[in-house]
């Protein structure tokens, strides 16, 4: 069985963000980079499926600049067999439609039986790429999956709805699913597997070979939201802060009466 998992490299969300000079994106300097959280669940599920079904082969695909190879190595160390890096210094400017079309262009003649993506990326948060790629490939696709099983070519998945209700749906492979938080417990790569990953195949492709569509939108401005007025921000020594907070709670809430 042939499996594809798509991952994105994103900044650690606890980073101190700065706005880039032209103010259309965040400054990519001095940021810590990691695998998009949702994609860790996608990789884990793909690896589990690869282990479950004999003679499987699992490809991890990532579009981005050179540095994304570090994140791809983590996916390889988690158990992917090979990597495909679509080298693109300007991937941050590509809209979800373009990213999805590159994934679809890559996958269209490779007959993957299963494709996994994250439900959304933490930086763009558009929740579009996976489903768009599925539509472009005319695959049945299921989003926001918190439970996944595969048996005899049949996918059964639970979609998470509001309030924690789940909808159980099924379809036949080939299919695509987008993975939601909590789907599984992503493994930590072991040291031997990290060493092994270094020898795994990592193919680089160029954007020009895969990008056949025009962008549909662009970011014209990026900025910090305005802080709500009235909110207090307190900094200082923990002991002083605790005294201040107790005072504030006494004055503003009835809970310390």
């Amino acid at each position: 069985m042939k499996i594809l998992v798509c991952i994105k490299q994103v900044p650690d969300m606890e980073s101190k963000f700065k706005i880039a000079d032209d103010a259309t994106w965040y400054d990519s300097k001095d940021l810590a980079w990691r695998m998009n959280e949702y994609d860790e669940y996608a990789v884990e599920q793909a690896v589990q499926l690869r282990t479950q079904v004999e003679d499987s082969d699992l490809t991890v695909l990532c579009i981005g600049p050179q540095r994304v190879q570090e994140t791809m190595k983590k996916a390889l160390a988690m158990g992917c067999d090979r990597g495909v890096h679509i080298d693109d210094d300007n991937s941050f400017q590509k809209d979800p439609f373009e990213i999805a079309s590159m994934i679809a262009e890559f996958a269209k003649d490779k007959s993957f039986d299963m494709i996994f993506t994250g439900m959304q990326s933490q930086d763009r948060g558009s929740a579009q790429v996976g489903l768009m790629a599925g539509e472009m490939l005319s695959l049945p696709s299921i989003s926001t999956v918190v439970d996944f099983t595969f048996e005899d070519g049949k996918v059964t998945a639970k979609r998470e709805l509001e309030g924690g209700i789940k909808a159980k749906v099924s379809c036949s492979a080939p299919a695509l699913v987008t993975c939601q938080l909590g789907l599984n417990t992503p493994r930590y790569p072991t040291l031997p597997n990290i060493m092994k990953a270094k020898r795994k195949e990592l193919l680089t492709l160029s954007v020009a070979d895969l990008l056949k569509v025009d962008s549909t939108q662009e970011t014209t401005k990026i900025y910090f939201p305005e802080k709500r007025s009235g909110g207090l921000v307190l900094e200082g020594a923990a002991g002083d802060l605790a005294d201040k907070l107790i005072q504030i709670l006494k004055e503003n809430t009835g809970v310390l009466a």
Binding site: L131, S141, V255
Partner: protein, 304 residues
């Protein structure tokens, strides 16, 4: 400008979020019509054309069927905008429609500034303005971002629609949310743990403060997903909705899905090492501190 509003129905009822779409269209000054897979017994209060597919026949959401129904209405109405809620229904259906139309999709719109749609970025730490280059645009609205200034009113002109589309996806049934757990909605004080607690061994710190404040403890989703805290204590859009007198968010960044469950709290205190954490946008007080140091100290002082 013409907008087609994709309203939502669940369990035989129209979701109130459908009116947020109406508010959005009003704000843009767009002419609108509405699409709903729902029931004649639960019509929206809306003056305009309502394209209604029978939820008895198309009851459970099926992407291929709903997409086909919607595309037929779009072909007839030729709207400039197709508007969804950014919900499990909207974020699933919108990209499918966008691809079929070759249209730009803008997800989770929070406001419109000088005609440009604004969306959150990097877990809501930043905002982006979008310029759309296609003739038609598919948008999904962040829950609660647009509100009608008055109660909804009106009676729609109903046009029935139907399709016989086959689907590769089979709906097999619903599974209710895990029952049990603590009913946090009754607590006057809730102290919640986020991923910032670092490891499960730090949970007693949070429980300690909750006890000292005579309240309950809750948690954000990653803490629950990691099994550090029981699912019954999760706060947020896929957990409980609470509105205590005091909510203390410890090591919680303030993602929209968490805020959805606690933003109606009367007083909100956040403890976070990151001064820019989005929780600061709604907190009455943001204490910039390491919770491992601050929370035990605070507890000790309260008990002293």
């Amino acid at each position: 400008m013409k907008a087609l509003l994709v309203a939502e129905n669940r369990d035989g009822k129209l979701l109130a979020s459908s009116y947020e779409l109406v508010a959005f269209a009003q704000q843009l000054g767009a002419d609108s019509s509405m699409f709903l897979v729902g029931s004649e017994n639960a019509l929206p209060q809306y003056d305009g054309t309502l394209y209604l597919a029978d939820s008895g026949k198309h009851s459970e959401y099926n992407p291929a069927v709903h997409k086909q129904l919607l595309l037929e209405v779009i072909a007839k109405e030729q709207p400039d905008l197709v508007v969804f809620s950014h919900s499990s229904y909207g974020w699933d259906l919108a990209p499918r429609v966008a691809v079929a139309l070759g249209a730009a999709q803008v997800s989770e719109v929070v406001e419109v500034v000088e005609g440009a749609m604004v969306v959150p970025t990097c877990n809501a730490k930043l905002r982006r303005q979008i310029n759309v280059k296609t003739g038609k645009t598919v948008v999904s609205l962040q829950s609660g971002a647009f509100c009608l200034s008055e109660d909804p009113s009106g009676t729609p002109i109903v046009e029935k629609i139907d399709t016989e589309t086959a689907s590769q996806i089979v709906f097999e049934g619903y599974e209710e949310a895990e029952a049990g757990g603590v009913d946090l909605s009754k607590a006057e004080v809730i102290v919640s743990a986020g991923r910032g607690i670092g490891k499960p061994e730090n949970m007693p710190i949070i429980e300690g403060l909750a006890k000292a404040l005579k309240g309950e403890y809750g948690a954000s989703r990653p803490v629950v997903d990691s099994d550090w805290v029981d699912h019954g204590r999760q706060v947020g859009s896929t957990g409980q909705t609470v509105s205590p007198k005091l909510y203390v968010a410890c090591g919680i960044s303030g993602a929209i899905q968490h805020l959805a469950g606690m933003k109606k709290s009367e007083y909100i205190v956040a403890i976070n090492t990151d001064k820019d954490a989005p929780i600061g946008e709604i907190a009455d007080v943001l204490i910039v501190a390491d919770l491992k140091e601050f929370v035990p100290l605070m507890t000790a002082k309260l008990l002293a």
